[in-house]
Amino acid sequence: MKTMKLQDGSNFKKNFMKTKILIYTIFLFSLHFAFAQEVIIPLEERIELVENPSNTYYYKDVNGALNKYVGTWKYETSTEVFEITFSLNIHSSAGKDFKDELISKFKYTRNGVVIYNTYTSLRNYNISGGFFKFPNNTNKIKLYYSEPDVTYRTIQSQLELEYVPSTTLGGANTLIWKRKIFQDSPTPPPFELPKNMTLVKQ
């Protein structure tokens, strides 16, 4: 009986220790999680944030501001056809931070000659990103721009898109496309795509 009591006491101690270890482990895990988790900032409010460099941020599209850009858009003249399809890329790395962004695939044909067709390749970052300069106007967005195998100035080319919803019943929404680049001389950069376009939602 005495032995039995001792065993019970021993088991109690063991169980108590296990519980303590479990609680301690959960506490440490929670602590780690509390310090390691990302600080979520609505994507369109990023411009207003003064970042703390020691934080990891997730610029999340909590309000669906990117959704209006998703889909296929088309620009067409007598000699040119340009078609681009934007899709969402969720929780994409952004240096030490993360963000939701747009990625794209596109095809450009001029005088019947296909200049670019990234639909058939793995490329979807030539035109990508998503930054709202004005938190209250998500109809204007900045993306980062390059063209396949054109290395000229890829480091700082920007694209500004303006979403214009249709004002007529059954009318198509449009996208005003403006490529921005600092140009040191009157000689234009050797990009193939038009600098300015108005694209129609397909």
């Binding site: 990023r46 411009i47 003064v50 970042e51 460099p53 994409s92 790395s93 952004a94 240096g95 030490k96 931070d97 490329r123 970052y125 030539n126 990508s128 990103g129 930054f131 300069k133 980062y144 390059s146 290395t151 000229y152 100035r153 890829t154 480091i155 700082q156 920007q158 921005k180 680049i181 600092f182 140009q183 040191d184 001389s185 009157p186």
Partner: protein, 505 residues
């Protein structure tokens, strides 16, 4: 292939992919007789301290270094060529406090310092695990000047200034050279060579705590044919070769303290980092005092400060065997472009250019004058990374110019003169693969571009102080595949329009 350094321009250099290098650090425990020359050096340090004690120049609290644990010396070496030795100072009167003599490889010699650890009782009672050191650390020169101090909690720096306290005082530098019986001096042991015939060679140890470059010291002779026992201590006057040993003062810094022998993770790069920083400052000062580079920096400064000057300019520099530099002028200077064709010539290691305050933008109709940011641009960063790659793959670069410290991109603006230097070679080479090589990653490039634009340009508009602050945050925290860019940045200190030093930002 032309290479552009500029604030807006980008002609990406296509380079072949290269192998990643990994940083390695090894820690071993050795006895003094296992390290060539160490006994002589330690003997010289002890003699110096003994002399200072007798002359009454030391305070009571300074350790006299009479009792050292010479059987358990911690040797730490890394793949970047950094080397340190840490020797426990035995002093029963210290109580729970303890001290260490530190010898850290610096150019041809060592920097010597004493570290005093004052732990709290709880840490001491818990078993003295250096990974979790809690208490104070002081770093002192051999003559007792505190150069920095730090408070650590559980191995992490916790005191104000976000790191160590401000540095002051000059480090004591141990210079080693060799002298034969005819009085000829050698930087390296000449008996290593096959053709040396003299029978007697002396290893000379100078200790310089003045920071001015002058030194006094003594030598311990040994016979080249029969080992190197401690010989009679002599006296000689020497000159420190290749380093100013100048003041490290200049403000606080965020560097962790010297804790490599403690194993504390937050202090992992402490010793080599501090040493690298001092060495880099010395190199930068030597560069900016070179006749050609100095003239180019001055020219750039005058142009950068001239609000009516609206284009860049600069030069590429290659070190010659006599230590001076040869300058190559850019082939294109236009607006925000400073172009070199070819982009790199073997041996070039220093690029200097300026950012004017404004430049013309021709992108929309009539040219418009626009502000130019007085900070290194995205292109400057990428080109500096590319330069690292070029240098790393340059098999023809001369040995007198093959240190990573030689690789520098200097930028002159109306707000200051900055130098990008190599902080982590492996990270820079890895970044080059993603940003510049044939296998460059458009997603990584977009991340780099967009984060630079958003975190710096968009956040600051044209506020210069904001631009510099956010740039520093960016250069220190932006990661590619989890690694930082590996770039350090220094700013020149001017006195009477002359560069007199560099501080790490």
């Amino acid at each position: 292939m032309m290479l552009f350094w500029g604030c807006q321009q980008d002609d990406a250099i296509i380079t072949e992919s290269n192998q990643k290098q990994t940083f390695q650090k090894t820690k071993t425990v050795v006895s003094i007789d296992q390290i060539f020359g160490l006994e002589t050096i330690v003997g010289k340090v002890q003699t110096m301290r003994r002399s200072q004690n007798q002359s009454g120049t030391l305070s009571k609290n300074n350790t006299y270094l009479e009792n050292l644990d010479l059987e358990n010396i911690v040797s730490i070496a890394d793949s970047d060529g950094n080397q340190s030795y840490t020797i426990d100072i035995v002093n029963p009167q210290n109580g729970i406090n303890f001290e260490k003599l530190r010898l850290v490889k610096y150019m041809d010699g060592y920097i010597a310092s004493i570290q005093r650890f004052e732990p709290n009782q709880a840490w001491y009672d818990s078993g003295e695990n250096m990974n979790t050191f809690t208490g104070q650390i002081q770093n002192m020169t051999l003559n007792g000047t505190v150069t920095w101090s730090a408070t650590l909690n559980n191995g992490l720096v916790v005191n104000n200034n976000n790191g160590t306290t401000a540095k002051s005082g000059s480090p004591c530098i141990i210079n080693i050279y060799w002298e034969d019986e005819e009085g000829v001096q050698y930087e390296d042991d000449p008996t290593d060579g096959d053709n040396y015939t003299s029978a007697q060679i002396t290893m000379v140890v100078d200790i310089d705590c003045s920071g001015s470059g002058s030194s006094s010291g003594g030598g311990s002779g040994y016979n080249s044919g029969g080992g190197y026992p401690n010989g009679g201590l002599g006296s000689s006057n020497g000159t420190f070769v290749g380093g100013s040993g100048g003041s490290t003062s200049g403000g606080s810094n965020n560097n962790p303290p010297d804790g490599s022998d403690t194993g504390c993770t937050n202090c992992d790069t402490g010793t080599s980092f501090d040493l690298n920083e001092q060495r880099t400052k010395d190199r930068l000062l030597a560069m900016s005092n070179d006749v050609k580079i100095k003239a180019r920096l001055q020219d750039c400064k005058e142009k950068a400060e001239d609000a009516n000057h609206i284009e860049e300019g600069g030069g590429a520099f290659r070190k010659k065997s006599d230590g001076t530099y040869f300058e190559r002028l850019p082939s294109v200077i236009q607006g925000t472009e400073t172009g070199f064709d070819p982009g790199y010539i073997s041996g070039e290691s220093v690029f200097v250019h300026l950012h004017s305050q404004k430049a013309y933008d021709y992108s929309e109709g009539l040219p418009q004058l626009k502000d130019v940011a007085p900070i290194p641009s995205k292109v400057d960063i990428v080109k500096f990374i590319s330069l690292m790659y070029e240098r790393n793959n340059d098999t023809n670069e001369p040995s007198y110019s093959d240190d990573d410290d030689e690789i520098v991109s200097m930028l002159v603006t109306d707000q200051g003169t900055y130098a990008l230097t190599v902080g982590n070679k492996a990270n820079m080479l890895a970044a080059d693969v993603k940003l510049n090589s044939e296998n460059r990653d458009q997603k990584v490039i977009n991340e780099f571009v967009s984060e630079y634009e958003i975190k710096i340009k968009e956040a600051c508009n044209n506020d210069d102080a904001c631009l510099l602050r956010t740039f520093l945050n960016f250069i220190k925290t932006h990661t590619i595949d989890g690694n930082t860019l590996g770039i350090d940045i220094y700013q020149a200190v001017y006195e009477n329009n002359e560069i007199t030093g560099w501080i790490k930002l």
